[in-house]
Each structure stands twice: as structure tokens, then as C-alpha cells.
Amino acid sequence: MTTVSLFRGLAAGAALACLAPTLPAAESAASPSAQPKKKSAGPALKRIRTIKLFMRDGLRFEPPRFEAKPGEDLVLEIENGDTTDMAHNFLLLKPGTREEVVTQALALAEKGTAQGWVPNHPAILLHTPLLDVHGLATLKLRVPEAVGVYPYVCTFPGHGMVMYGAIYAGVPLPKLAEDPNLPPNAAQGVIAGRGQRPFAQRVFLPDASPAAIAVALTGSQNACWDAGECRLRYAWQGAFIDASENWAGNGSKLSALSATPWWRAPKDAFPLRFGAADSPRPAAKFLGYTMNTDGPEFRYRAGEAEVREQVLPRRGAPGLTLRVRIAEARGPVFYHAPADANTQWTSTVGKWSGTVLTLTPAEAADFTLTLSSALCTP
């Protein structure tokens, strides 16, 4: 009864269209015209539940567990939302067999890749192939009639000992932090943006104004762009922010970064000056941002000038690039690149004098800064 379909990239819509025929007519959201019309426009009360499961950064399933009724029909939509380029699979197992199956998967050794690290084991109730990042699989499941805790696990080598969860079929859930069927990291928070990159999330961030924006860039770089100050504040590498403490409470708590930033701008250091390198700090006003396919482009006014500033991952090497476009500057533009021992700045145009980049109005119309650091490693 298992149907598996695998889609890559953002083809989730296609996956749903494919899934729809497996559902009763009234459940089909994808092709209503082909089906007899429902009597009422309101939502039907009897639906097959769809459970969305994500593979997340840090070898985690989200959710780490869920409840189901014995014998219940479910649709599992499983997506690899891991942003650190790791492939994962999903195996649903008979109760109490997880470690045995994980061990057998590891023993596949050189045969493992061809089998998607799925061993031949009678305890496997259903499984997906190995899913690359953004890979999506849809499984139809009838929960076994036997009451029990059914583990699910990723059997990719090295993952199976920590990356697992459980379906509670007719068994009450223990407290999350005390659940013996879950790994110790299950009680941790969720990564904002559900693994999408690029992504922008506004939420309270450490070491920035209350109006700062967290940016997840394609790849594994992240940045804090502060809309309260209209400037880049810091960059870090790895998973995006964990905002769960902020979201679970009244909004007081700050989001957590997954790693110590490899670069920080100094406090109160607005980088742009107009006319002279030591001219007064121009007043900055945030105007908004555009979500482009390669990342958000921020817009702000600095003094008289309107600035567009896009934060991008550096190509081919660890670091960031900052594409800055200043429309119709009336005179020379100065960019104060804050220096620290580990950081290196380069620019496509302009003249460096120490850490200050001088740009003609024409150069300032479109220039790209590259920021790299000894602390930011491949």
C-alpha cells in the first residue's frame, strides 16, 4: 500500500497533484473540477490527516513525535529541510527495532548508497529513498492496529543514533523532555524559516536593535541586517536562528544564533559618508526590502541618497558579499569598512585608503564588497 514519489527543488505542488488521486474524491484539493461538487462550500469534516515531517539541521526530525490512532489512515509528507547539504532518509519501524535496523544499515557499507541505506529487514514498515536537500516524499500509511510506539529514523551512516522520532499509536505521550523514545536533542527549538534559504525573519536578535532582521543566505551563511540602523551587523555560519524561546513566550526572549559570529560590525559605526570621509553620519531611514531569488535586497535612505544593499554569500569561498547601489550620489562616496585582525574587505571598484573605500558617484552606482575572515572556514 506504499506509494512513494520523490520531487526535488520547489516542486511540492507537483507532489500534491500526484498525491491527490490517492485520496477520496472529497479530499482532493488539487483537482476539484474533475470531481463531483461537494454539497457544502465549508471544509469537509472527515479528512485523511496529512502529517508534515521535516529533516532539520542538527540531525533532527520535526516534529520529533506525533500521535496517531491505531488503524488510522495518514498521509506523510516528508521533506528534507536540512540547510547544511545533508541527505536523509525516513524509515518507519516496528516497535523496539530501531537500533537493530540502524546497525544493519551501517553494515551495508559500500552497497549502502545504491540501496539508499535501507537494509532488508522485516521490521521496516515503510520508507523513503535517500532525499537530497529539498527532496520531498509522500507516503500513505495505515497505522498498525497494534497499540505501540513506532520509531522513525534516518539510517544514513552516522545519523541513526541521534536522528529519530516516534509515532505514538494509542499510547499517551510522556513529557517531551522525558520521552525515552526520543533523542536528547528533541526538546530543542525549531529553526526559523522551516529550512528555506534564502529567508528573512524579523524577530528579536542578540547584539542589534529591536528592529533587526535575520537573513539566511543560500548555502550556510547567515547575517543580521539591522533595519533600525540600516546596516549589516554580523555574520555567522551554520544553521539559521532558533526563535523558539521568543515565540514560545511573551516575545521577550532573544533568538539564538547557532554559532558565534565570524564577523561583527563595531557598535554605532554607520559605514557610508558623503562628500568627505569625515563628514557627519547621514540620517538613515529604512524603506523596506525585496525578496529576490538570491536573497533580500534592503532599501534605505542615507542623507539625500537612496541605497539598495543586497547581502549575498561569497561565491566559491566562505564569506559574504554586499552589493550596494547608490542612486545619483552628488559627490564622492566613502565606505568605512570596519577593520579587525581577522577580516578582509575587497571591492570591485573604488580606491582603498586604509579601511576607507572612496568611490566616484559612477562607481557608487553599483559596487560589490566582499567580506571574508580567517574565522570563517569552508
Partner: protein, 519 residues
């Protein structure tokens, strides 16, 4: 971005409360009420998008009939009632607590740091432009600085409201906006000195950056924001009635003996002193140290006070009931939601010689609504309710309310008269309603002071002196021995009956008497 498939209806909703103990010899009053509510209203639920935290910050209906919702983690999504499917429109917003859908399909949303216009410029159905409409206000990072709205006035202007900060927490080291010192430097708020003395000196709720505690008028053309009304604490509910009067409510707390509903005017002051520092006539002093008499003279009285606990704790959105056959005589009246108790109220304001006042009465009181009734929108006759809690009392998910039977026997309107009150009912009263002893209640007032909340002051019982029935026994003139402005007249209509011998579905109705009419 991905179209989202419907999540299971049951998965995200809270468990419904089952009817009360069936083994009891007699059903309790609450159980009787639950059963009666079912005879008049159908309460259901709507799914929320899968994978999205189902706390609702804002609801609105687009011109094409789709429902827009803003969610706790920052998503804005559209629900198409025809396909019952959700599509995410925008993501990553900071605690959005209200939205409007424009005729061109763009969405105005108030998030914690700004009023934003979300626009799909490339036609893929997903917003790519997050344009700042107005962010000219301060943020200290204090959790209580929520931002609500926008609502659109008849003049085309947008109105948003900004909460005060709470002394339950301090401020961030980095803030946005200029700090108002009032004898307490900012460092004392975030440094080790916070708590105890500094927290007390700051006031229970404080406004140290622009324009916390104000309702703001934003010109959508120029993006200019100007403080419009002052004196608020946590003004979650704003709305205009059909005549263009601007209603803003607030939450019980310091300087709020109970939760008020105000009809606000430009430059008006509505009670909480902290935001007076943003009014043009501010003299530089600490408004929290102004004598109460001075503040009392400055402030406009609430039009309607919603009695604390016995009615509601924390009022939310206000919206007008559509004039459709399904809603019958309630069409055109205003409703207001409530966070702590699963209740929806009707508001019955009236203007007497230039003074606003009026009554509040329950519309629906049943556990089936679930708590946290934060946001409302109309999908035709169906009231969609969006719940939230933000870690306080409340709920989550989307519910629906629709009339599913005859209009209940209830007080329809309540007006003050020179000697008492006139009630209209939805159905004729039994002849015994002419007995004055059946028309009873209590009057009291709430104290205007810095302390949190207030007891019911000078609480006394009253009974009618004279009762006159008219209009086929649907209208009742109740004369009281005396009428005292400044008091809330809280009637218990549980002793009057319909011709079928049934008491009103919602027998409590409380009128805030600011002024007694001369004729």
C-alpha cells in the same frame, strides 16, 4: 513558495470541552446555556496551514472572497473558501497583529517594528516586496510593546496603535527612537539597577520612546505618522462604525479599573498618563506624578466600560455584524472579542447630548468558542474567529460562528431615558414583565487610579420603580428611583421571560452612564 495542503482539522485545534457532568441530577446553568446556544448558533472550525504556528494575529477578507490571516511566527497566508486550501503569501514578519487586504491585492500588515505593505510584483502569488509604510516610532525591545492595526478611516487614513512597555521587564541596550529620560536614564533600565526601585519609578506601564501608548494616524500616501489619540495601555481593538465614529478599546490594568471602549477624537486623552509625554501640550513633567484630579480633568470618559471578570478581562477586535437575514436584528451592531473567556459581546453605544455611552451584552457565551478570541472577519454570514495566546490565557486556531436557528430571545438594544432605560427585545416579553420587581441589577463604578484594576466601588442593588411595556411587549421602559452619572448599571434580566417562559439567552447587560438625557 509552496501551496500548502490542508492540515487535518483536528490536529491543531484544541480539544473541545465536553458537556458538563451528565450524571448530575440537574444540568448546571452553564450546561443549560451551552445547549441553548446550540439551538441558535453553529460553532465550527477552519483548518490552518500545515506547519504554521496557529496563533492568529490578524484576519481580513480580500475583495475576491479569500480570507487573509497573519500568524504568530510571521506568516501571512490566504485561505480560499472555494478550494479550502491555504497559500502562504509572506513570511518572516515580526509578531504581526493586524492586517488589511487592499483592492489591488497587496496586504498592509502591522508588525512589531513597522507598518508594512506586502506586494506581489512578479505575479507568482507570493509577496516579494516588503515595503515599509511607517516605522517612525520607538522600540525598546520590551516585550509588551505590541503594535496593532491597521484600520482604515473614512478619510482614507490608516490607524495603528502602540502598546506601552511593562515594568515586568526592562529595555534592550540598543533601542530604536529617542529616549525620554523623566529622571531615569536609560542605562538604569538595562543595567543591573533594573528591578525594585527603578522598575517602580518607571511606572507599571511606561512610555520612554515615541509614541508608545498612542493611536497613530498614518497617511498612506506620504508615509507620515502622527500621534492621533493619547492615553492607551494595550489597545488591541480598533474599528470604525458605519457612521465613521472611531472606537478603540483597552485592557484592564494600571489606570484602567476595567476594560474601556472609547470613541476617540484627534488629540484626545483617554486615561493612561504615560503617553502624555507625546502630546504637544506636554510640559516636561512626569505624567505619572500628575495629580489624579488633573488627569481626571484631562481625560475623556470611556463610552462603554466592560465589567471586569463578570463580563470580560481583555477585549480584542471590534467588528460590525453584517445586515443579512441570518443575523436578523443584530445586523449593524458591533461585536467585540475577549482573550480570557470564550465569549463574544455586542456593544450598544449611543451619543447623548454629545457624550458617548452605552451598554455591553453577551452575544455568545460557550466553551465551544474556546478562549483567545483575538481577531474576526466575515466570510459571508460566517464569522471567522482567530485565536491567540502569546503565552497568556487564550487559545489558537480558527473557528467559525454562524446563526443556525431562530434569533435567540435577548435584549436587542438598550437606551438611556431621563428616568431609566428603554430595552428592545428580539421577541415579545411575557405579560409578567410588567412587574417592576423583575427588573433588577447592581450599580457600581471603577476607580481611576495608578493601581492595577479596581474593586467595584459603592456597589448597590437597584430595582425598577415603574415598568411600561409597549410595541407588542417587545419594548420596555424601566424607570429607576434615581439615575446617577458615573455609574455602571449592570442589569440581571434573568427574571424576565419570553412568551415561551424562557429567560434571555444572555441576561446580563451593563450600561455605562456618563450623562442623563434631559428629554
Amino acid at each position: 513558495m509552496k501551496p500548502l495542503f490542508l492540515s487535518p482539522l483536528a490536529a491543531l485545534a484544541l480539544a473541545l470541552t465536553s458537556p458538563l457532568d451528565a450524571s448530575a441530577a440537574e444540568p448546571t446553568k452553564a450546561a443549560v446555556n451551552e445547549t441553548r446556544v446550540e439551538q441558535h448558533y453553529a460553532i465550527g472550525k477552519l483548518p490552518t496551514p500545515s506547519g504554521v504556528d496557529p496563533q492568529i494575529g490578524g484576519l481580513a477578507v480580500a475583495r475576491d472572497g479569500r480570507l487573509a490571516a497573519a500568524f504568530h511566527h510571521g506568516e501571512v497566508a490566504f485561505f480560499d473558501p472555494k478550494t479550502t486550501s491555504w497559500k502562504i503569501f509572506a513570511e518572516g514578519l515580526h509578531e504581526p497583529l493586524g492586517l488589511l487586504v487592499e483592492d489591488d491585492g497587496s496586504v498592509l500588515v502591522m508588525q512589531r517594528p513597522e507598518l508594512t505593505s506586502l506586494r506581489d510584483t512578479n505575479g507568482d502569488g507570493v509577496a516579494d516586496s516588503y515595503e515599509t509604510v511607517w516605522d517612525g516610532f520607538g522600540m525598546t525591545g520590551n516585550y509588551h510593546e505590541f503594535a496593532f492595526g491597521p484600520v482604515r478611516g473614512p478619510n482614507g487614513k490608516l490607524y495603528v496603535s502602540l502598546n506601552l512597555a511593562s515594568n515586568g521587564a526592562s529595555v534592550r541596550e540598543e533601542i530604536r527612537g529617542a529616549w525620554v529620560d523623566l529622571g531615569l536614564p536609560r542605562e538604569q533600565f538595562y543595567a543591573g539597577e533594573w528591578g525594585g526601585k527603578v522598575a517602580n519609578a518607571a511606572g507599571r506601564m511606561y512610555s520612554r520612546v515615541p509614541y508608545r501608548g498612542c493611536v497613530i494616524e498614518v497617511d498612506p500616501q506620504t508615509g507620515a505618522g502622527t500621534p492621533f489619540a493619547f492615553g492607551f495601555r494595550s489597545p488591541d481593538g480598533m474599528g470604525f462604525d458605519a457612521a465613521g465614529n472611531f472606537f478603540v478599546n483597552d485592557n484592564q490594568g494600571d489606570w484602567r479599573g476595567t476594560s474601556p471602549v472609547h470613541v476617540v477624537k484627534r488629540n484626545g486623552f483617554y486615561g493612561h498618563p504615560a503617553s502624555l509625554v507625546w502630546r504637544q501640550d506636554w510640559d516636561g513633567g512626569d505624567p505619572l506624578k500628575f495629580p489624579v484630579e488633573k488627569l481626571e480633568a484631562l481625560r475623556s470618559q470611556p463610552a462603554i466600560q466592560i465589567p471586569f471578570a463578570s463580563y470580560a478581562n481583555s477585549p480584542t477586535q471590534m467588528l460590525t455584524i453584517p445586515k443579512t437575514p441570518a443575523w436578523g436584528p443584530f445586523g449593524g451592531q458591533m461585536i467585540v472579542g475577549e482573550m480570557n473567556v470564550p465569549r463574544i459581546f455586542r456593544l450598544l453605544p449611543e451619543e447623548i447630548d454629545g457624550t458617548w455611552q452605552g451598554a455591553c451584552v453577551l452575544l455568545i457565551d460557550t466553551k465551544k468558542l474556546q478562549g483567545g478570541l483575538h481577531r474576526f472577519a466575515w466570510l459571508g454570514d460566517t464569522l471567522v474567529v482567530g485565536r491567540t495566546h502569546l503565552s497568556w490565557a487564550g487559545g489558537e486556531g480558527l473557528g467559525t460562528v454562524k446563526p443556525a436557528g431562530p434569533t435567540p430571545f435577548d435584549p436587542l438594544t438598550m437606551h438611556v431615558t431621563p428616568r431609566g432605560f428603554r430595552f428592545d427585545f428580539t421577541a415579545p416579553l411575557a405579560a409578567n414583565a410588567a412587574e417592576p420587581s423583575r427588573w433588577i441589577g447592581q450599580r457600581y463604578y471603577y476607580k481611576y487610579h495608578a493601581s492595577y484594576g479596581s474593586p467595584e466601588m459603592e456597589k448597590t442593588e437597584f430595582a425598577a420603580a415603574k415598568v411600561t411595556l409597549s410595541n407588542g411587549n417587545r419594548t420596555v421602559d424601566v424607570e429607576l428611583p434615581d439615575l446617577k452619572p458615573g455609574f455602571i448599571y449592570d442589569f440581571d434580566l434573568g427574571h424576565v421571560e419570553s412568551t415561551a417562559g424562557e429567560p434571555p439567552l444572555n441576561p446580563r447587560i451593563a450600561y455605562t452612564l456618563n450623562r442623563v438625557p434631559t428629554k
